[in-house]
């Protein structure tokens, strides 16, 4: 559906086009509908908007000049990386320019001694690890889209991954970000040192969804590869038992390298693609990874197996070699798009809840699936309590998207009620902008707007995303008031 952006700008298209064409060679400025249309959405196809112009700069000087032009002419601007995001964060603004950073794809430096890599924002997440591999190093955050998603986007969304319980999120693995403010000034957040002088602005740039600055260079930490990693597949005949097993593992004092869960619809979707050999009769599978020295891993795997067995696992399979381990993970990492094999469209939710509430949430999702008459596959970063229910629908059937959206909203509202959040790693984007009102008070939303204004007074960077206007908040509480669950008393 077209997203009704309530933040609009009176823009003179010809004027800004002229300015941009003076900055960039012709083939790097797209302005005809035919070539703009494929830019109308990112990994979330449910919301779309046609941009006025798309630019594909190649140098920092060009980026600075583009920003200056947009700032002067008050033209909104949406930065875009690989556009794999699932919250519509890179969806264009209909009055604005899409600033694609896809041509910024150089790995500028890999320094094995300081264990850092300096990369341009259009470098793919996996490419960093591949480049670091000869030195026994890798870039730890591994979002499931790591084959395609870029570092710039990872910083903008503070991306997580399947190993972040132990190795942290993007914010924990980025040392420095170089970029430009909306008025075209170059700026650096963070340092090669472990901290920088003044406020920790790097912390808010991570996860700022392209609302605060445009990123043109990122310095990331590289992590030594563990000597060995092995994953246990634990199958369960009941999804809730699997949910409880997650809490049991943590309670046993184990911090697994990764702790993930898929339910039956999810394994059925991925198996034809990855041929991982998942047991398709099981109701749920947990992937529980141990890494370290061989002795350490052997010890930990035994402890994990004991806990999982006690939690009711019906069978356990331990990866016997690296190829098998990667195959087991491949299914998990390809789970979202693989669901495309069993449904034309899906919405992927991203709520996070306290781990102990997992079983409760699963039960609620099953009920909602019946209520809305839509199937749902569940893929979880179980260790972090981060849920990715995939609500399946058919956009060609009138009313299904609306039902899917309502289904998703209920899951997220429940996430807040259970003491969690509407988004763990995918970002708010356009998808969840209204739901921010379920999690934050108008005073808090206003504080976010003031923070935004500290960086971007005219509100030109990625407008309408991330933080709802107060009008939207009011509308949300009025229309969903009854349905929306009131968060627990907070003060």
């Amino acid at each position: 559906m077209a997203f009704a952006n309530d933040v609009r700008f009176p823009v003179d298209r010809r004027e800004i086009l002229g300015r941009l064409q003076a900055i960039l060679p012709r083939h790097l400025v797209l302005a005809e509908e035919e070539e703009l249309r494929p830019y109308e959405c990112d990994g979330l196809t449910a919301y779309r908007a046609l941009p006025l112009i798309v630019v594909l700069p190649e140098t920092e000087t060009q980026v600075g000049a583009i920003l200056k032009a947009c700032h002067e002419l008050k033209v909104p601007l949406v930065p875009r990386g690989a556009a794999t995001g699932l919250s519509g964060g890179a969806m264009p603004h209909e009055d604005g320019v899409v600033l694609s950073l896809a041509r910024f794809k150089k790995i500028l430096k890999i320094d094995p001694l300081s264990r850092t890599a300096v990369v341009q924002p259009g470098v793919r997440n996996l490419a960093v690890s591949e480049a670091a591999a000869p030195y026994g190093l890798y870039y730890a955050p591994d979002p499931s889209s790591q084959i395609a998603c870029t570092i710039g986007g990872n910083v903008a969304e503070n991306s997580g991954g399947v190993h972040c319980l132990k190795y942290g999120l993007t914010v924990h693995n980025v040392l420095k970000v170089r970029g430009f403010t909306i008025n075209g000034e170059a700026v650096e957040f963070g340092a090669e040192a472990l901290d920088a002088a003044g406020l920790d602005l790097l912390a808010i740039i991570n996860g700022s969804e392209g609302l605060l600055a445009v990123i043109t260079e990122v310095t990331v930490k590289l992590t030594p590869k563990p000597e060995l990693a092995q994953v246990v597949l634990a199958y369960f005949d009941d999804v809730q038992k699997a949910g409880n097993a997650v809490a049991d593992v943590i309670a046993a004092g184990i911090i697994p390298g990764g702790l993930e869960m898929m339910d039956k619809p999810a394994t059925h979707a991925v198996e034809p693609y990855v041929k991982a050999g998942y047991d398709l009769d099981a109701e749920a599978v947990l992937l529980c990874e141990s890494d370290g020295t061989p002795v350490e891993v052997a010890e930990e795997i035994e402890r994990m197996k004991a806990v999982l067995e006690k939690s009711g696992a019906t069978s356990l399979v331990v990866s016997q070699n690296e190829a098998e381990r990667l195959r087991f993970w491949a299914g998990r990492k390809a789970a979202f798009p693989a669901v495309g094999r069993i449904t034309p469209d899906y919405l992927c939710m991203d709520g996070t809840i306290p781990r102990k509430r997992l079983a409760e949430m699963l039960e609620a999702i099953a009920d909602l699936s019946v209520k809305y008459g839509l199937r749902c596959a569940n893929v979880f970063h179980a260790g972090d309590g981060n849920l990715h229910p995939l609500i399946m629908y058919d956009a060609n059937q009138p009313g299904e998207l609306e039902r899917a959206t309502a289904f998703g909203s209920e899951i997220l509202e429940l996430s807040v009620k259970l003491g969690g959040t509407i988004t763990g790693e995918h970002g708010v984007g356009v998808e969840k902008v209204d739901l921010m009102a379920a999690q934050f008070t108008p005073a808090e939303i206003s504080a976010f707007h003031r923070l935004k204004a500290a960086f971007d007074e005219k509100g030109l960077l990625n407008p309408g995303k991330g933080i709802p206007t107060l009008a939207r908040c009011r509308e949300y509480t009025q229309t969903r008031g009854a349905a929306a669950v009131t968060p627990p008393p907070r003060f």
Binding site: V187, A203, A251, G292, T352, K356, G419, G420, A447
Partner: protein, 355 residues
């Protein structure tokens, strides 16, 4: 709402209206840090206690005035800890002060800093609004990451009232090794080891000796001990504690103490006076009357910055405690202060004079 919070909100309102400054203070253990505090005292120690603690969730929520010692004792009882080993610098240190100061201890290079463990905060902003950001879950990207911004903000953006932190199990095994080597050799070794999957939890070099702490699973520590060699140090706990709390003889005396944060691979800083290296080479402590301008230029070249960590008020005022910011960053700092505390109520000038 809690009576204490109501009272604070009223005080902030009044101060904002009257254009008065408030000086937020917990145990006062870090009064020495940053510019000399000014303004009317706002004591947070009355607002204390652990609000919730679920060891299986790896999350604890505490009121800002809670003594750090009390929190650490509660965690230890469940076999958990604050992995970043925050320094107390005094008996009264509070959790709020820990976050506001943003200081981390010996294990920082291995496990991350305070900011990496802050999941959520509640705070009173400069207009007296009580706001909550973040939450009690590991992953949360709804809204800007204000909780992490608070870490190290020296109370300049708001009055922290409640904080949620990620906690971790205590390492199962530990061991300390010592090697005789020069600073240059130590820096080289530390960076080389850093690139290997070794369970190095902390490191310190001074006076020709490199001390390394291993922590983790028994098997991993054993294997690392084999790989690294060196002399095993018995009862090393006191040594690491003396670093964390700066009671080690290196930190004794009145001469100025500089903290220089640099890229870990930076060569020895070649400054007069003695040096203490921590964090795998990324944190260098220097003692003596040093040329601030020169030192800051060197620190910047090495990818970092220099802080006049301990000194008399006169020196702090003369050279500034923190490395000056670029014009763009300085503007963003002023704008953020304006966003959170437009009347300049909180900890005026504690970080930068115009802020």
């Amino acid at each position: 709402m809690d009576a204490q919070l109501k009272e604070w909100i009223a005080r902030v309102h009044d101060a904002a209206e009257a254009g008065k400054a408030l000086c937020i203070r917990g145990g006062g253990s870090k009064d020495f840090y940053g510019a000399v505090p000014v303004g009317e005292l706002l004591d947070t120690t009355g607002y204390r206690g652990i609000v919730s603690y679920e060891p299986t969730e790896l999350v604890v929520t505490v009121r800002a005035g809670t003594p750090l010692a009390e929190l650490e004792a509660a965690l230890k009882e469940k076999g958990q800890c604050l992995p970043f080993e925050p320094p107390h610098f005094g008996a009264g240190a509070t959790v709020g002060g820990m976050v506001a100061a943003g200081l981390s201890g010996p294990r920082r290079a291995a496990v991350g800093a305070v900011r990496d463990y802050v999941l959520g905060v509640k705070l009173i902003d400069g207009k007296g609004g009580l706001l909550a950001f973040g939450g009690q879950v590991m992953k949360n990207v709804a809204g800007y990451d204000v909780p992490r911004l608070m870490a190290g903000s020296l109370g300049t953006l708001g009055l922290l009232t409640e904080i949620s932190l990620k906690v971790l199990p205590l390492p199962m095994a530990g061991m300390t090794l010592r090697f005789a080597m020069t600073e240059t050799e130590a820096l080289k070794k530390l960076n080389e080891w850093g690139g290997k999957p070794l369970p190095i939890a902390a490191s310190a070099w001074c006076d020709g000796a490199l001390t390394v702490r291993l922590a983790g699973a028994f098997a991993a520590v054993r294997a690392a001990r084999e790989a690294l060699g060196g002399e095993e140090v018995a009862d090393a706990g006191a040594f690491w504690q003396s670093l964390r709390e700066q009671t080690h003889p290196f930190f004794a005396g009145d001469s100025p103490l500089w903290r220089v944060a640099v890229a870990s691979v930076s060569p020895p800083l070649a400054q007069p006076g003695s040096t203490f290296v921590e964090w795998g080479g990324a944190q260098r402590w220097l003692r003596g009357e040093l040329d601030a301008g020169q030192l800051r230029a060197i620190a910047a070249q090495c990818g970092g910055h220099a802080t006049l960590f301990r000194a008399d008020a006169e020196s702090k005022a003369r050279v500034g405690v923190f490395q000056p910011l670029s014009p763009v960053l300085a503007r963003l700092h002023r704008n953020l202060k304006q966003a959170f505390d437009p009347a300049g109520v909180f900890n005026r000038g504690r970080m930068y004079p115009d802020y």
